[in-house]
């Protein structure tokens, strides 16, 4: 393994971590502020990707496609918050899981009904389709660099929003004591809708950005949703900072584990069993990471006890 290859893999890990952060941020905000477990978060990711693919198909513009993804996911978020989720805040988590699982099924089959069963076409814009040469002679896909930059900007923006704006203060207050901010005259239901739509928009953006280099198909959100749950458990439920650190940890562990573990086993095993055992262990690596974190910090890295 050359240093160049290692740096490239670290970049890959960062990029997948950043995308996970966009998913996990919304999930953790919604859980932190409203105490709601939203399994349908992956459907919002899918809606973003499908909206982007449809608009890119009509207009040919990737920028418009991203805007459409944000708008469609935020709109879908508003609607499901007002129609379904609002009725679930006072219920226990099992009811929430059941209702949002039903939403997954409805959105998946609804999307199939609208767009058909075959994956849609969404490609990166031509200007970003090739690799760029980074210092040190590393060839890296320019689109992935863009994803890292966009993700970091959004993370920065989100921290500013939470730390410095009025709505941010309300969100933080809502995380500490829901009844109290209602008593102080904050319009709780409006705040909830805004937070839900914000989380949905982030998931939709992630879906559109990733959809351009992956497959835009029904059910694309659920594997990511599982990873996003791992991220917020590692980071500490309700913490944006935890979501960022957790996402980067999971992204790096997943990517580097897949590359390094087979090599590590190759040092003392024959190549074919090293590949088999290494790949198997790499698939487990993030769950092992989660178990270790929970062992030493049962509430996650930044979670409150």
């Amino acid at each position: 393994m050359t240093p160049i290859l290692l740096i490239e893999q670290v970049l890959n890990g960062l990029q997948s971590g950043i995308m996970l952060f966009l998913m996990a941020a919304g999930l953790t905000l919604i859980f932190g502020v409203m105490g709601l477990i939203n399994l349908a978060h992956g459907s919002l990711y899918m809606i973003g990707a499908f909206a982007a693919a449809a608009v890119a198909g009509w207009t040919g513009s990737f920028t418009l496609a991203l805007a459409a993804a944000l708008a469609a996911a935020a709109l879908a978020g508003c609607i499901i918050e007002m129609v379904v989720i609002r009725r679930l805040y006072d219920r226990d988590h099992l009811d929430q899981v059941l209702a949002t699982f039903a939403l997954i099924l409805i959105f998946s089959e609804g999307t199939r009904w609208l767009f058909g069963s075959f994956p849609l076409y969404l490609d990166v814009p031509a200007a970003l389709s090739g690799p760029v040469r980074l210092p040190g002679g590393i060839l890296y896909p320019s689109y992935r660099l863009l994803i890292i930059v966009i993700g970091l900007l959004i993370a920065f923006g989100l921290f500013q929003l939470i730390a410095r704006t009025r709505i941010g203060i309300q969100i933080r207050a809502g995380e500490s004591d829901r009844e109290m901010i209602g008593a102080l005259g904050v319009d709780i239901s409006r705040l909830y809708t805004i937070v839900f739509a914000l989380g949905a928009a982030l998931a939709g953006l992630a879906g559109a950005l990733v959809g351009a280099i992956q497959s835009v198909q029904v059910g694309m959100g659920e594997p990511v949703l599982i990873l996003a749950f791992v991220v917020i458990v590692i980071g500490g439920i309700g913490s944006i900072k935890g979501a960022l650190v957790g996402a980067l940890l999971v992204g790096l562990t997943d990517t580097l584990g897949g590359v390094l573990l087979p090599l590590l086993f190759g040092l003392f095993m024959d190549p074919s069993s090293a590949t088999t055992i290494g790949s198997a262990l790499a698939s487990m690596s993030i769950y092992i990471l989660m178990a270790l974190v929970l062992l030493f910090r049962p509430t996650g890295l930044y979670g409150r006890a």
Partner: protein
């Protein structure tokens, strides 16, 4: 005039009953269990549509279609329901090898025929073969073995292999290595359902392989090809047709151009009946057929051919009729080996653009009269 046509009708009715009494052409009830929802639905829909196209207008066939959701337990329940309460004679439709393994042995044990339009796990071709099980598609290894043969003949020396870490992925790569005589410089097994291949692409770039040979079905292949195109790595790309079939080429787009893939069928294959099939499928469904559609179509043709020769209630006679494979396959010549798996040619196709449509074109024959290696273990 009226009397004349009445008499004619009566004669025809008589002829019909005579045929029935003769033991030929009784009605056959078919139970189709296939994947119509979830991520793998495209394959099941194509198999179903191909089958129904061939069966269209044939009132001797009574077809029940059910969705297995790509779940083995549901497929098993559906099979039991179809056999016990719907009283089907023949089952078909399953796409995935793990579902086939869950369903087929119990179906054949209950004395029903099973015609596989897609999955061909090695166990059912070898030790677990059954007189009532017929595979109309391929044994799972076929496309890979043909890929290895083609690589030998076309000067491909160093190959990087990649597949998902599950039985069909590992079997596929084993099949390729069985025939490939060059050097395998790298071998990676990814998580099933993985969507990001940046790490693997970096490894391939760093290796000295001249060709990457991979099997990544469905969305995994779409993701890999798009990311491959963005990485700027210049190596040949090869694989079995599953990653480059009509249903997913549209989603990959130009990134797939030039990729070589092995298949037993292609829409430009010049054999009798194929052009008509392609046209009829397009007219009926408004899209190009995939190889799954061709398999579904052939499955129905095989069944109909056997119905003309024997009554499905006469198991031995119907089995013999199926073994004859007396139908015009859209793949050209087609016959069954002793283990009821196909003997057929496998072609090498290349992804090309025809107008705005990305599709496949045959560039040569990869294997002639190919059959699987497991037949030796089959005692029936």
């Amino acid at each position: 005039m009226k009397i004349k046509s009445l008499v004619a009708a009566a004669c025809m009715a008589l002829a019909g009953t005579a045929a029935l009494a003769d033991g030929h052409g009784g009605k056959v009830k078919v139970g189709m269990i296939t994947t119509l929802s979830g991520g793998g639905a495209g394959l099941g829909i194509d198999v179903r549509d191909g089958f129904l196209l061939a069966a269209k207008g044939n009132d001797m066939l009574d077809i029940v279609v059910e969705d297995d959701q790509q779940k083995p337990d549901i497929a098993v329940q559906l099979a039991d329901k179809m056999i016990q309460s719907e009283k089907v004679d023949v089952l078909t439709g399953i796409i995935w090898s793990n579902l086939a393994m869950a369903v087929v042995p119990s179906v054949t044990a209950q004395g029903k025929f099973y015609l596989s339009p897609n999955a061909g796990p090695s166990a059912l071709a070898g030790k677990g073969c059954s007189p009532l099980y017929f595979n109309v598609a391929w044994q799972n290894d076929a496309f890979y073995e043909a890929g290895g043969l083609w690589a030998n003949e076309n000067g491909i020396g160093k190959v990087f292999l990649m597949a998902p870490n599950y039985p069909a992925g590992i079997d596929g790569m084993t099949g390729f290595k069985r025939t490939f005589e060059g050097e395998v410089v790298g071998e990676v097994y990814t998580k099933l359902g993985q969507t990001d291949y940046a790490a693997e692409i970096a490894q391939i770039r760093a290796s000295d392989a001249d060709t990457v040979y991979f099997f990544l079905p469905g969305g995994m292949g779409i993701s890999f090809m798009k990311q491959w195109a963005g990485s700027g790595v210049e190596k040949n790309v090869m694989g079995p047709a599953f990653s480059f079939d009509q249903g997913i080429l549209g989603a990959i787009g130009d990134a797939a151009l030039g990729v070589k893939n092995t298949a037993h069928w292609s829409k430009d294959l010049d054999v009798p009946g194929n052009a008509d099939f392609v046209k009829a499928f397009q007219d009926e469904y408004g899209r190009l057929p995939s190889l799954y559609a061709a398999q579904g179509y052939d499955t129905a043709l095989l069944l109909i051919s056997a119905m003309g020769k024997a009554d499905v209630k006469d198991t031995a006679a119907f089995q013999a009729a199926l073994e004859e494979a007396d139908f015009q396959s859209v793949r050209g010549k087609f016959s069954f080996a002793a283990n009821h798996h196909p003997i057929q040619d496998i072609y090498m196709r290349e992804v090309v653009k025809e107008g705005d449509v990305v599709t496949n074109q045959i560039i040569g024959v990869a294997a002639t009269d190919h059959t699987d290696v497991y037949g030796a273990d089959c005692k029936m």
